[in-house]
């Protein structure tokens, strides 16, 4: 695959769809959670309003260069992740810029935003930001481990690192999905998925009651708006990766919407019914439960 200019509008279109889908879907999920609790919940367009409101703030402060750049890193990370991963299998225009790199690129690019965010939060000078970063990073080391193993298992299984090819290999029926061909890897990966979606029981990073509210404590206005945007698209991007790797990918936008939504619901459901882990508890949890599954996954491929 090589670059052609037509890919730019295609990519922007994909981005646009995913952004809106993300904004709406996260609101819907929140609404669902509220309904479970018997509340009416937020309007589904609440995310848009919040976004506009934050862009519309009149006064802003600036803690320094990295503080300023932090949200830029964050959102670039999210957008980049979307654009480096093919969204719809078989679609000529939703392949984005996946010619630039394979699965490895996607896996490592996840850290781009994290790093920038952590730096920005660090420069705000707020101790809670630093504590949040410390917790987040500490947790992610073990949370990502089962995922890495699952990916490796998968790559061995399919003998490729290209996401498109992995999806291609899963076509032709439900039982061709990795979910069924390599269930251990999927289980392992789901540990990581739940662990990195910033939901209970793994949301000690933000811990609003304790270190309000972790890394973004000092962020507001357009900074926050960028981060909110990212908050809408980044989980989707991540879910897309999981979907592509383990659940047969999506051949059209409808399949995409359903699969992403269902996947997204997993951590949401778990989050609603679980209290929060402390960092060391979640580290132990992943080592005790996620890691063995991951090891089995790479040994049994």
């Amino acid at each position: 695959m090589t670059f052609e200019w037509i890919q730019v509008p295609y990519a922007l279109a994909t981005l646009f769809i995913i952004l809106n889908y993300g904004l709406l879907m996260t609101a819907v999920v929140r609404k669902l959670a509220a309904r479970v609790g018997g509340r009416p919940g937020i309007p589904v367009w609440q995310n848009y309003i919040d976004l506009v409101k934050n862009f519309a703030l009149r006064s802003k402060i600036n803690h320094g260069v990295m503080y300023y750049l932090g949200p830029v890193f964050r959102l670039s990370g999210g957008i980049g992740l979307i654009l480096f991963v093919p969204t719809i299998y078989g679609s000529s225009w939703a392949q984005n810029f996946s010619f630039a790199g394979d699965l490895v690129l996607a896996l490592y690019f996840i850290f781009f935003g994290t790093l920038g965010m952590a730096l920005g939060a660090g420069e705000s000078g707020h101790p809670h930001s630093a504590i949040g970063v410390s917790r987040g990073l500490a947790q992610v080391t073990t949370a990502e481990l089962p995922m890495a193993l699952a990916v490796y298992s998968l790559a061995i299984q399919y003998q490729t690192l290209s996401i498109t090819e992995i999806v291609a290999a899963q076509q032709g029926g439900l039982f061709n999905w990795t979910l069924f061909t390599n269930p251990l890897a999927v289980v392992a990966a789901m540990f990581a998925f739940v662990g990195t979606m910033m939901r209970s029981p793994f949301d000690v990073v933000l811990a609003p009651q304790e270190i309000p509210i972790g890394p973004p404590t000092e962020y507001h206005s357009a900074y926050l708006a960028l981060m909110q945007t990212n908050r809408a698209i980044f989980p989707i991007a991540k879910t897309i990766i999981y979907m592509n790797l383990f659940f047969g990918g999506a051949a059209n936008w409808a399949e995409f919407a359903i699969k992403v939504f269902l996947l997204y619901m997993i951590p949401a459901v778990i989050g609603v019914v679980h209290p929060r882990f402390r960092v060391e508890q979640s580290i132990r949890f992943f080592l005790k439960w996620g890691l063995p599954v991951g090891i089995l996954a790479i040994l049994t491929v």
Partner: protein
């Protein structure tokens, strides 16, 4: 009219010395030089608040105001007993979320400061700081009679009586305490005001900064912070 008891004021006539950590001091640099540190100047931004103009296009401003009105982020700062009346707003019975109202843990991301009840002098200081650290446009709602006229604390020696002398209040919700329903009604009122473009408390505060500051300092004797807390 004085907000605070005369006897209390008399006792506070003496100037309160600056806290140790804020006093200018000499520090030795790693190279062995002595440098002067003036914490209040060096650690804090001294700029005064600015009046921010509305958007150039009224229609845009109206759109913004609509968004602001439908995305009220409350700083969860429980100053008095009114705080207890806020909690039911999150429950299925009242559920303020459906109106786009949320609670945020940090002043930076909030636009609505709820003064939920009486303010002692000590708490006032914190309330001012929290208010100033919010980003405009920002709104203040006084909850209950204590914020209006001191309420049952009208003759207390160290609670303030009228909130709007110290902060630009956009809306008072009367009652002692007002019930959650009253709160919801108040929010609806506030929304209307915002949509109407009448909630320019932040600009008002900036314009009358000197007055507000003088009022604040007249009761808060140990004003150990910069004039405006960014």
């Amino acid at each position: 009219m004085k907000d605070v008891d005369d006897k209390f004021l008399k006792n506070l006539d003496r100037t309160v010395p600056l806290r140790e950590e804020l006093r200018p001091r000499k520090v030795t640099t790693p190279d062995g030089q002595e440098i002067e540190i003036e914490p209040l100047k060096d650690y804090f931004c001294e700029a005064a608040p600015k009046v921010h103009a509305k958007s150039y296009f009224p229609i845009v401003e109206d759109f913004y105001n609509w968004a602001r009105a439908n995305s009220l982020w409350i700083l969860g700062f429980g100053t008095g007993c009114g705080a207890i009346e806020m909690r039911p707003l999150m429950t299925p019975r009242f559920d303020a979320y459906r109106y786009g109202i949320q609670w945020r843990p940090t002043p930076r991301q909030s636009n609505l400061l709820m003064i939920s009840g009486y303010l002692s002098v000590k708490t006032l200081k914190r309330a001012i700081r929290a208010y100033e650290q919010m980003q405009g446009p920002k709104y203040v709602v006084g909850l209950g009679s204590c914020t209006i006229n001191g309420g049952m604390y009208w003759d207390s020696y160290n609670t303030i009586k009228r909130l709007d002398q110290y902060l630009p209040v956009d809306l008072y919700i009367a009652g002692c305490m007002p019930r959650p329903e009253a709160l919801l009604a108040g929010f609806m009122e506030l929304k209307k005001l915002i949509k109407a473009g009448k909630c320019e408390g932040a600009n008002k505060y900036a314009e009358n900064f000197a007055t507000y500051k003088a009022n604040q300092k007249s009761v808060i004797k140990d004003w150990d912070m910069p004039d405006y807390n960014w």
